[in-house]
Symmetry: C2
Subunit: 151 residues, 2 copies
């Protein structure tokens, strides 16, 4: 999140290169993603977009997010209870530190899990209650299947 405007231009260029259109609505959504450090949810994005472009619909916000996810320009952080959150600045997997009270999400920088909790507590003052660590991949069986039938 060091250069929001630069990041916005990156995303815009990505769309152009793909021959996709730069509509005011899209520009508004991308702008919010580029300038947000706190991983906004769909509702927050929607509310903010409407201040700039009042006629924008929720569906368009969703469609834009799906599009950017497919382009690999936005990271979706899944939460079944409080709604998904989006990161347009670091669209690659990275650790998140989530407040279970205000649902704030920040990006800590650390290397190993062993000392992470201690490190986090010391550096952020957060009271770590729990964590989530998931790896996504393809199991050996599915790797074999996938060779022939690429979905």
């Amino acid at each position: 999140m060091t250069h929001p405007e630069h990041r916005l231009q990156e995303m815009v260029q990505r769309l152009k290169k793909k021959g996709l259109r730069i509509t005011p609505q899209r520009l508004a959504v991308l702008g919010i993603l580029a300038r947000s450090a706190d991983h906004p949810g769909v509702d927050r994005i929607y509310e903010q977009v409407k201040t700039d472009f009042p006629t924008t619909s929720l569906a368009t916000v969703y469609k834009t997010l799906v599009l950017m996810k497919e382009l690999g320009e936005v990271l979706e952080i899944e939460f079944s209870d409080t709604g998904n959150r989006y990161d347009g600045n670091k669209p690659y997997p990275h650790p998140h530190l989530i407040c279970t009270e205000c649902h704030k999400i920040i990006d800590p920088d650390l290397d190993t899990l062993a000392h992470m909790t201690r490190e986090l507590t010391r550096d952020t003052g957060f009271k770590i209650v729990s964590h989530r660590l998931d790896f996504f991949g393809i199991c050996p069986e599915c790797q074999k299947k996938g060779v022939a039938s690429e979905k």
Copy 2:
């Protein structure tokens, strides 16, 4: 998942100690949770329960899961797209290895993040595509607020 029946008894005892009732439906759900190593979803639990106790409703499955989550006897793993999954054997946060093809979930045992990916690839044959690492906690601001107003 070394002693499914023992785990089931643990959960049953937990309910009894709390003065909660052991109904056939609950027993069926708990039994499935205790005997599952693959972190079933609500739908799978529901289907299985119905083979033993055909009149069971989906609502009851949900209610039982909520109850066990509150008692800390079941871990909920959130997935906004493919539905949440449940672990009744290790109801505490731990790493998961998820196949993005068949949605299988297994529990790897490792210590640090640094060598985890390499370790996982070597030990499981999985092709690691991505990962999810989240810490849950309470931020300094909320910790202060929380002192007075315990929700």
